[in-house]
């Protein structure tokens, strides 16, 4: 299916990108201001609160794929009742049948995923027998993936290098030891000798790997606060 076809399914007619369409589409924009808020206005928010539920009912053919899509986006096991509610005015027996077929389908084709009833709801998850590959994948992710504490610590080191642990503590206000360990493991930072002060603490700076991961030729390419001051207007 190409984009236009998809689009026709979503909003018939919008797919055409000719100039006249452009004009029509502009009506949707509230482009009065360069920095207008992208979100909802107070008015719209209110409207949303009283927004009647989207009234849609799934056709019989849609039942299986829609259930599948719902299980996929749900963050928690999805209770059967809730699935029924989303599907609209469909007999529960039909939903149950579609559900059973869906689950059986996953079993039959020996999918890497499975649908199971757990904690009072239905959930898609990977099958346990593939866990080794999944662990291997999680370990192989690029090093520029960081937890928030690690990202914060890296930011301080990047902009204040060379810097010692107590100095990082001073700036961040929280202890950063485990973050520093993580960053060292990911080779994003390196030691930079000792500071000639009481206790001669280690100093840290960013590594070559850091430059590679963040796509920088050298440290002078790091954006400075001044670079963004004009943008902040």
């Amino acid at each position: 299916m190409n984009d236009d076809e998809i689009k026709d399914q979503i909003e018939p007619g919008v797919a055409d990108e000719s100039a006249t369409e452009v004009e029509v589409e502009w009506v949707d924009f509230d482009s009065s201001d360069d920095d207008q808020p992208e979100g909802l206005s107070a008015e719209e928010e209110e409207e949303l609160a009283s927004d009647p539920e989207i009234v849609v009912t799934a056709t019989r053919a849609e039942l299986q794929p829609v259930i599948e899509a719902l299980l996929f986006v749900a963050e928690e096991p999805l209770p059967f009742k809730q699935i029924c509610k989303v599907l609209g005015d469909v007999p529960e027996d039909d939903v149950r049948a579609a559900m059973d077929e869906l689950v059986a389908g996953y079993e039959e084709r020996e999918s890497g995923l499975e649908i199971r009833e757990i904690a009072g709801g239905w959930r898609i998850s990977t099958r346990p027998q593939h866990h080794e590959f999944i662990r291997k994948y999680l370990k192989s992710r690029p090093s520029a993936r960081l937890s928030l504490p690690a990202l914060e610590t890296l930011a301080v080191i990047a902009y204040k290098q060379p810097i010692t642990v107590p100095e990082i503590l001073e700036i961040r206000g929280v202890t950063s030891s485990s973050a520093i360990k993580t960053l060292l493991e990911k080779r994003l930072i390196v030691t930079r000798g000792r500071k000639e002060t009481v206790g001669r603490p280690m100093m840290y700076g960013t590594s070559k790997e850091f430059l590679i991961q963040f796509g920088l030729k050298d440290l002078s390419e790091l954006p400075s606060i001044e670079d963004f001051e004009d943008l902040a207007q």
């Binding site: 984009d3 998809i6 689009k7 979503i10 909003e11 919008v14 990108e17 100039a19 369409e21 452009v22 004009e23 029509v24 589409e25 502009w26 009506v27 482009s31 009065s32 899509a69 996929f72 986006v73 963050e75 928690e76 998850s125 999944i134 999680l138 992710r141 690029p142 520029a144 993936r145 960081l146 937890s147 928030l148 690690a150 990202l151 914060e152 890296l154 930011a155 301080v156 990047a158 902009y159 642990v165 107590p166 503590l169 700036i171 961040r172 206000g173 202890t175 030891s177 009481v198 206790g199 603490p201 963040f214 796509g215 920088l216 390419e221 790091l222 954006p223 400075s224 606060i225 963004f228």
Partner: protein
């Protein structure tokens, strides 16, 4: 939309009608910039973009700026720059062409040429923007999976250079507001003071005792600091070192002891009572 724009420019408000004014205001602000406005004026009068009647367009353009001013809409600098450009081109077109010398290239390039080029170029990106709009609409209708266990056990996001800067700015801001909070902070407890010293000792080989006293914000805290030191010395968790007579006193964590910051509630109460 074209309809609306035409109305906005053609029907200049004759009277000071507030409601109508607001109405115009909305419609007028549609233009994104001087090039957008020029393109609109060209399309409106079905002008050949390669042969723009510059005097006519300049007049319309200035009229529009005038209208904006009348309606108290601040005219952005970019619009004024274009106005100056238009007037310049207009004046150049009034000058007689320089005589062409034998064998030389014709130096009399059309003064409009650069502007036309810019308009044509801009127009392409304007059209491309609508393509991006459509694409985003389609993609917004697809959803990726909800959070699963591995997300929470490996809570890592991929970061860019901009994230580094953003995070760094946030930390600086946080540090600023933390200083303000300090003033209103409730009095520190013995447990907190012990924990503070322990933490500092965990990060540094030794601490200057005076430095710690300087951290105290009140007389009470000074006393607590003193008591905390006594406590730690008594429990042989730290040693106090003075390198020279009357010199600075340093607190050092004892090698073998892993300093336990835990102070139970009863002890804590006692200290408070002692005061």
């Amino acid at each position: 939309m074209t309809e609306n724009r035409t109305t906005a420019v053609d029907e200049l408000p004759e009277r000071e009608d507030e409601a109508k004014r607001d109405n115009y205001r909305v419609k007028l602000e549609v233009f994104e910039g001087p090039l957008d406005l020029l393109l609109f004026l060209i399309k409106k009068d079905e002008i050949d973009i390669y042969d723009i009647p510059i005097a006519h367009i300049t007049e319309q353009y200035l009229e529009y700026l005038n209208l904006m001013e009348q309606l108290d809409i601040s005219v952005a600098g970019d619009f004024l720059v274009m106005a100056a450009t238009l007037i310049y081109i207009k004046s150049k077109m009034l000058l007689p062409p320089e005589p062409k010398l034998e064998g030389e290239e014709d130096l009399n390039e059309d003064p409009r040429a650069e502007l036309v080029e810019r308009l044509l170029e801009y127009q392409k990106f304007k059209a491309a923007a609508s393509m991006f709009y459509s694409r985003a609409e389609i993609e917004a209708a697809t959803y990726t999976r909800g959070a699963i266990e591995t997300d929470t056990s490996n809570p890592e996001v991929s970061a860019t250079v901009f994230d580094l800067l953003r995070v760094f700015r946030e930390i600086l801001k946080r540090a600023e507001s933390a200083v303000e909070m300090e003033i209103h902070r409730d009095e520190i407890t013995m447990a907190e003071k012990l924990a503070q010293i322990n933490q500092m000792l965990s990060e540094r080989f030794e601490i200057n005792v005076r430095e710690l006293f300087e951290l105290a914000h009140s007389k009470r805290e000074l006393i607590l600091t003193f008591l905390a030191f006594l406590e730690l010395v008594k429990e042989t968790k730290i040693t106090l070192v003075q390198r020279e007579l009357f010199g600075e006193i340093y607190a050092r964590r004892r090698q073998e002891s892993i300093v336990q910051p835990v102070v139970d509630e009863t002890e804590n109460d006692q200290v408070t009572n002692d005061e």
